[in-house]
């Protein structure tokens, strides 16, 4: 099966401006040559810490942010260069759900309009009764009821609002949904409900997810493959079990050690690396992780490692292999 989404060398540079005249001093490489693909019906987890560029990747795919370079193919069509009209026709097939439903849903509109907006906008429904009927079916799909049609966002809890946001994303029958930290703002018990819901919907409707998150346990639970991002680049990409059983990039290993398992027997007391490094050192040429890397070699500071396939489907951007080094 051909991939549903193919991203090659995606780049997004943000200018850093200085002074009164706003001259461009430098560029922040928020996303730097990111490539991956998504197969139909699968979930790819995209993890990394704040500022690593994972959200920018998600938004660039929908062209909510215009990428600075690279190509994005959606269902075989190159969407980075098509005009706005064509893009608009494609947008129903690609949806995004955001982290905070309190700010992503307009507080002055009722559920009927919030969920039904896409339906009216793309002329799928022409009158109110049709719209109501369809909106109710989608509300029921996400576990809400028709009694909620005329309520405003402030009348709901965080978990219910996130369900509304999901219903809104589903109405246009999308093939791809980008979930940008959709469960991060929720309480544990509600988070479990939403994760289960997303997985059920995927099974039922064959939706493909790009699941952006910082919580590795959540990502492991929901994804078939996982990509780890660090400072704008993918440093490791592998099938979920491979990545969690044999993480090869030192940064991935650090992330794994930082997980706090809900089990007091598994308190690990390994000292983590100190990320607050000296800014004066020049690491601009080499590997971006070199400054904090426990298994840095000389080569790492001089040359940037390429993303290489070390085992089938397992891509790593690293010169040294830390895995065997247990003294880490």
């Amino acid at each position: 099966m051909p991939p549903l989404l193919e991203v090659t060398n995606l780049e997004k540079y943000f200018p850093v401006k200085t002074g009164l005249l706003g001259r461009i001093k430098d560029y922040v490489r928020a996303v730097d040559r990111v490539s991956f693909h998504l197969n139909p019906g699968e979930t790819l987890g995209l993890v990394g810490e704040s500022g690593c560029g994972k959200t920018t990747v998600g938004r660039s795919i929908l062209r909510l942010i215009e990428p600075s370079g690279g190509e994005i193919y959606f269902a075989g069509e190159l969407i980075t260069r098509i005009n706005f009209e064509k893009l608009r026709k494609l947008r129903p097939k690609m949806q995004i759900i955001f982290q905070d439903p309190f700010s992503s849903l307009n507080p002055r509109r009722v559920v009927l309009d919030l969920v039904g907006e896409g339906l009216s906008e793309h002329k799928i429904v022409t009158n109110l009764s049709q719209k109501k009927e369809l909106v109710v079916t989608f509300l029921e799909k996400v576990g809400l009821t028709s009694q909620m049609l005329y309520r405003y966002p402030h009348e709901f809890s965080g978990g219910q609002l996130q369900r509304i946001a999901i219903a809104r994303g589903l109405t246009l029958n999308p093939q791809l949904i980008i979930c940008d930290e959709v469960v991060s703002a929720l309480d544990v018990s509600v988070q479990a409900q939403i994760i289960n819901l997303l997985m059920e919907l995927q099974k039922e409707l064959q939706i493909t997810y790009l699941f952006i998150a910082h919580d590795l346990a959540v990502v492991k639970h929901i994804s078939q493959r996982v990509a780890v991002m660090y400072q704008g680049q993918i440093v490791e990409l592998a099938p979920t079990n491979t990545l969690f059983n044999t993480p090869r990039h030192p940064y991935t290993q650090v992330l794994m050690e930082a997980i706090l398992p809900p089990n007091p027997h598994m308190r690990n007391h390994r000292l983590l690396l100190n990320k607050e490094r000296e800014k004066t050192l020049d690491y601009s040429k080499g590997c971006r992780f070199a400054a904090s890397c426990p298994c840095r070699k000389d080569l790492c500071q001089e040359k940037e490692p390429p993303l290489l396939e070390t085992a089938p489907g397992h891509y790593v951007r690293c010169f040294s292999d830390c895995l065997t080094d247990t003294s880490l």
């Binding site: 810490e49 018990s189 919580d215 969690f244 990320k275």
Partner: protein, 320 residues
Amino acid sequence: MTESLLKVSNLAITFPHENQKITVVNGVSFALPQGEVLGLVGESGCGKSLTALSLLRLVPSPGKISNGQILWQGKELLQLPLPEIYRLRGKEISIIFQNPLTSFNPVQTVGKQLSEALELHSSYSPPEVRDLVLTQMQQVGLPQPLRQYQSYPHELSGGMRQRALIAMALIGQPQLLIADEPTTALDVTIQAQILDLLQLMQKKQRMGVLLITHNLGIVARIADQVAVMYAGKIVETAPVQELFQNPLHPYTQGLLGAIPRLDRQEILYTIPGTVPDPAHLPRGCAFAPRCPERFKVCLEQIPELSPNSPQHQVACWLKT
């Protein structure tokens, strides 16, 4: 067990709402021995932060502490006049809040803000204060204390700010540190570092720590004793090993089942329904409407926290 540093009994906090009073924290009791970490866990709105704030009499208006007793080294905090409380804050009891950026004054240097507790509570001379602050900054792992001393809060990264905040809380050598979601705003790798640091400092200064969090992973990592809160009440309390191995309250069991685990891959357990509105609490056990094992008594009478074994207390009709 050593003697309790802090003993809270029957604490209740109420807020006025539309001509009635809503009890947001209702009959909370716990004890914290010296040098131990007590994790207070619960979901948003369960009253855990208010409980913490009440210990320093910081409950925001119009909320009121309507009942209870807070014994701090034999003193009854709720009866003390406010100036006495001011003397405790930052010296005997310190608090760390969730967001380090809003906890600092943005227009004063970090060093000046760190010195404040010593200037207020001790008779050190300014150069001595400065030395003490710099030493403390070094102890919490700030890479260049001199530089960060002169920095403004916005010039530090999130992790450094949280370290500075910890330094600020510890500078007065408090016997109790209240940490309210100390790592929620931080990245996972920084979170682990900050937890290690908190634990190190706790052992070094033999402080009691009251750790407020919604994250059971954090509790599993650094707490000695755990209290689980639901809708303004403590529903279960036990030593950390015991709680995770043998959770008795259906709510605790539900919470533990709802966490995605690295070592298992199955459908997550979900607690049906949502947290009740404190203005319309059910008549019986507050958890009963969501409880898979409820029976008749649960809907009619509120269960009290009672011992199931000497160290393990639970408020559930099933277990009594």
